[in-house]
């Protein structure tokens, strides 16, 4: 494979290597948790600073946070519907913020300056475990939303226009988390790889437009993930007539 021919001491192309943490007999990808803790810590500090002194006449950080809140509310409201969007807004917002902060944090912070014994720090969303965890949470959420809102009538959705839809709708329950997790994982990993390869080949100006493209992709992926999660929940709670 082409990547195997590259110098082995080059950290940028350490693909598929992890910093393993062994706790008992379970193994964890340490670099994912390290970056996610740093980024989420920064996010929580940012949010606590912004909400420390809430005023009726917003200033500075509070303004930004209110804009963010409004953005997330609009997203949840348009996808889930007026009736139950309030229950799901924190979840959708957390997904959006988590994915966004992870993607941008992975792209903007020069993690490569921190040397690890194995693997390297990067966007937590570039690890398949993270994206599958998020996608499975979305699946659980829409099942829970449907069942808690409509009870057993939720399963009418599977035969809704005609019973012919049943196999497709069952298949959808598997393809939804699959597509959610692989879309996010693939986009973020591909972005990191492209930037890594370009930095390796032409370390000067050339990678910059690709980095900007990566920032754009990262933001779009966060929006797509949150929108799709909200859409699935909205689909599950929607009343058919």
């Amino acid at each position: 494979m082409f990547l195997n021919c590259l110098p082995t001491n080059f950290a940028a192309l350490e693909v598929g290597q992890h910093l393993y943490w062994q706790i008992g007999n379970i193994r964890l990808h340490g670099q994912v948790f390290l970056t996610s803790w740093i980024l989420l810590g920064a996010l929580l500090v940012f949010i606590s600073l912004g909400t420390k002194k809430m005023e009726n006449d917003p200033k500075g950080l509070q303004n930004l946070l209110e804009f963010l809140w409004d953005y997330i509310r609009d997203l949840a409201r348009t996808q889930i519907g007026e009736k139950v969007y309030r229950d799901w807004m924190p979840f959708i917002g957390t997904l959006f913020l988590f994915v966004f902060v992870s993607n941008w944090g992975g792209a903007l912070i020069p993690w490569r300056l921190i040397k690890l014994p194995s693997g390297e720090l990067g966007a937590p969303t570039a690890d398949i475990n993270t994206t599958i965890a998020l996608a499975l949470l979305v699946s659980l959420s829409y099942f829970y939303a449907g069942l808690s809102n409509k009870g057993w009538r939720y399963f009418e959705y599977y035969v809704h226009p005609t019973p012919i839809m049943l196999p497709f709708k069952i298949l959808e329950d598997f393809t939804k988390p699959l597509s959610l997790s692989f879309r996010l994982f693939g986009n973020i990993l591909a972005d990191e790889l492209v930037v890594g390869v370009l930095v390796f080949l032409v370390p000067l100006v050339l990678p910059i437009p690709v980095m900007f493209l990566g920032l754009f992709t990262s933001a779009i992926q966060a929006l797509i993930f949150a929108t799709l999660a909200a859409y699935y929940i909205g689909e599950a709670v929607e009343e058919h007539h």
Binding site: V15, G16, H29, Q62, N129, A133
Partner: protein, 153 residues
């Protein structure tokens, strides 16, 4: 453990799924609760309070505006009726004064005509009496002349 030999990695690989997955899920769920109490609830309270305040104010202003419009229409109609009444009164007064003027004019005309007629009659009387007297005197004179002439002859 699902481990693919991917990109030459001897251990792990890109699709190395392990306990990171459930722990990350728990972390995200915990983050949801933290963000809910730290971000979504407080900001939501402030924003919704403000939205309520603004919509209440707008409603109040709308109510006041409609009240003002009603009052304005009321006042306008009152003004209009007052104006038309004033016009009626003015035209009535004009008519009356016109009538009075005409009556007075007629009266004065009649009076003038009557006094003119009286004066004319008087003049006529005087003229005729003067003429009668003149005739009488002329007769006397002529008789005198005749007598004298007859007597002298």
């Amino acid at each position: 453990m699902l481990a693919f030999d991917f990109f030459g990695a001897t251990e792990g690989g890109l699709f190395d799924i392990n306990a990171t997955l459930p722990l990350m899920a728990i972390q995200v769920v915990a983050l949801t609760y933290i963000l809910n109490s730290l971000f979504f609830k407080p900001v939501g309270n402030v924003v919704e309070k403000r939205e309520k305040f603004v919509s209440n104010n707008i409603m109040d202003a709308k109510n006041k505006l409609s009240e003002v419009e009603k009052l304005e229409a009321d006042l306008l109609s009152q003004l209009q009726s007052a104006r038309s009444e004033a016009q009626k009164i003015v035209s009535e007064a004009e008519n009356e004064s016109d009538k009075l003027y005409k009556e007075a004019l007629e009266l004065a005309n009649n009076e003038a005509n009557a006094s003119k007629e009286k004066a004319r009659l008087e003049i006529e009387n005087q003229t005729s009496s003067a003429r009668d007297q003149l005739f009488k005197q002329a007769d006397e004179l002529s008789e005198l002349i005749v007598n004298r002439l007859i007597l002298e002859k």
